[in-house]
Symmetry: C2
Subunit: 347 residues, 2 copies
């Protein structure tokens, strides 16, 4: 790995990220969790949620929106519900604490939910529901994002965040079935990248400041908005996520309090073994996977289960390493220099 330029092992990248966060004063256990979550996103192929986030998080630290030394805690836990206080620290440790708590509660009672308040970016929801599935449970999670960037279906102005939804169930072998999507049709990052590159955006993804359909990426920054996926259905999911996660968590919907950052997160777990033996459940999942693969057209592309591409990418990148562009490396080096951290791997 070390001989290939700009390719790094996950372990090397985790060490680099750890050094940066430790220099912000972040405790070791919190540092380990955030570093692991970020690099896991790179491993499964979602580089937008990976090491690149260092710059954004450091910006929040400098603006006092993110307290790098905060530790999340369980505010209360009773019956089959609990509430996690993220203490406006990193969101990933709060979400993993919530995940462990919801699994523990669901083991005791059968079904449980945990809500996270005062939380920054929790990262990739797929990580948490996958962990729930690893424990033989069904996991559902959704969070609102407290920045107005998505217009509701038929609307002309931004109202909601990109409000992701994730759902996982146990699969065969080590591969669970993991669905994890933004309720926006395309990512804001893609629009910003297109604006920089002079490219146009696919139709149906964007409106301008007057609510007219647009393919010009510059319209997003000029009062326009992203559109939800799936017309009224995807828009409805985004609305439910925004109100439910925003109100339950106290982070509030962005339409009411547009802080520009913060995630209100809900995680639900159902213990499958109450309803059906886990081996039978996995056999059904396996038979479904085989049937799904067989729907491939003769000359068509493979048809994959939700999460199958991520599982393959992870297997591949664990061996071949993770590519980090020179541009990203240089941006991380700027942060590192400000914090007095050495990253010889990027020099």
């Amino acid at each position: 790995l070390s001989d290939t330029p700009n390719i790094f092992s996950a372990a090397t990248l985790e060490k680099i990220v750890s050094r940066v966060f430790r220099a912000m004063g972040t405790p070791q256990d919190i540092t380990d969790q955030v570093s692991h979550s970020l690099i896991l996103s790179n491993l499964v192929g979602h580089d937008s949620h990976g090491i690149i986030r260092i710059m954004e998080y450091y910006g929040w630290v400098k603006s006092f929106d993110l307290n790098p030394i905060a530790t999340p805690s369980i505010s209360w836990s009773r019956g089959s519900s609990a509430f996690i206080d993220g203490a406006w620290g990193f969101g990933q440790p709060a979400a993993m604490l919530a995940t462990r708590e919801v699994i523990s509660l669901a083991k005791n009672t059968g079904t449980a939910s945990v809500v996270i308040g005062r939380s920054n970016h929790v990262g990739r929801l797929g990580e948490y529901v996958n962990e729930i599935a690893n424990h033989g449970m069904l996991g559902i999670s959704f969070c609102n994002a407290a920045a107005t960037i998505v217009a509701p279906y038929g609307g002309a102005k931004p109202l909601m965040g990109t409000n992701p939804f994730a759902w996982a169930i146990p699969g065969t072998g080590e591969m669970n079935t993991v669905l994890d999507f933004s309720t926006a049709l395309i990512a804001a990052g893609k629009v910003i990248h297109a604006a920089m590159s002079g490219e146009i955006i696919q139709s149906g993804a964007l409106i301008d400041k007057d609510g007219n359909p647009s393919t010009n990426p510059n319209d997003l920054q000029n009062g326009g908005a992203l559109l939800p996926f799936g017309e009224h259905k995807g828009s409805g999911l985004s609305v439910l996520i925004d109100v439910a996660a925003g109100a339950l968590s106290g982070v509030l919907p962005a339409a009411i309090e547009n802080t520009g950052h913060g995630n209100g997160t809900v995680i639900i777990a159902m213990d499958i073994s109450n309803y059906v033996k886990i081996d039978i459940f996995k056999n059904i999942a396996e038979a479904f996977l085989v049937a799904l693969h067989s729907t491939k057209a003769i000359d068509g592309p493979e048809v994959l289960m939700p999460g199958e591409l991520e599982f393959r990418t992870k297997t591949l990148r664990e061996k071949a390493g993770i590519h980090v562009s020179r541009g990203v490396q240089e941006n991380i080096l700027i942060v590192a220099r400000e914090l007095g951290v050495e990253i010889p791997e990027f020099d």
Copy 2:
């Protein structure tokens, strides 16, 4: 109402439906529940799930797929989980029993789930999650439909049912926020109607038997398939619903056992008052609704909350009555005659 041809009050239609089911031997309490659920669908504007279903249900009774005298029961209930045995009777009473049980469990423990097995068509999921929201809770429900009619995203063959998903939270006044959608882009009924009428189908909704995009409605019956909404995201929702609801309920995914009928159903409830005072939650929902309405373009259509159109339609039809076409009336009269039931209202 009685002077307007083909317009009937909800009470009149409920009485008509009751007479038909009672003549099949269905107990009074089950009859009341099914009649109410069907006509409630007409009231909220979803006529496809209303009185028209009598013909389909009677067909299942004659083929011994639906036992009209069966009564659902709670197989077990412990902690925050329960299982309802639909006994292969009508699905609506099983779903309403499950709804009452999940509300009761969530009141005790905070969060709960109930699964329904051996169930016929449960009808409109929106009815059940709306009832959960009436009790100050968040309700999520999904069910698989054991008939292969929808191809997965990128696939060339039908694999899944239309697998609906519903989600409700308390709103303002009597109007909750209620999302309820099929994961197919369009309803099978719409395709069948288009085939009868010689119309074409919107592009992106249908493929032919070779997996090619089609707008010819006849392709559905000739080995083609409906497509999911929202590309890979809606398709992923359908996959998760099919495996989770199919395996937990024992109804099985249609890809494994294509019975052509039956619903495996999951209902989840979260008691909101554990997390936030219900009045505060409703105030946030109200503020969000106002903000959403304000995203309307100057000359654009109204922008509505999920469930708002249904709420308005119900208010309207409670006063103005429900239209039942002569064709539907005549089909119901055929069933009635076979059962020896008089329906003077339709003569």
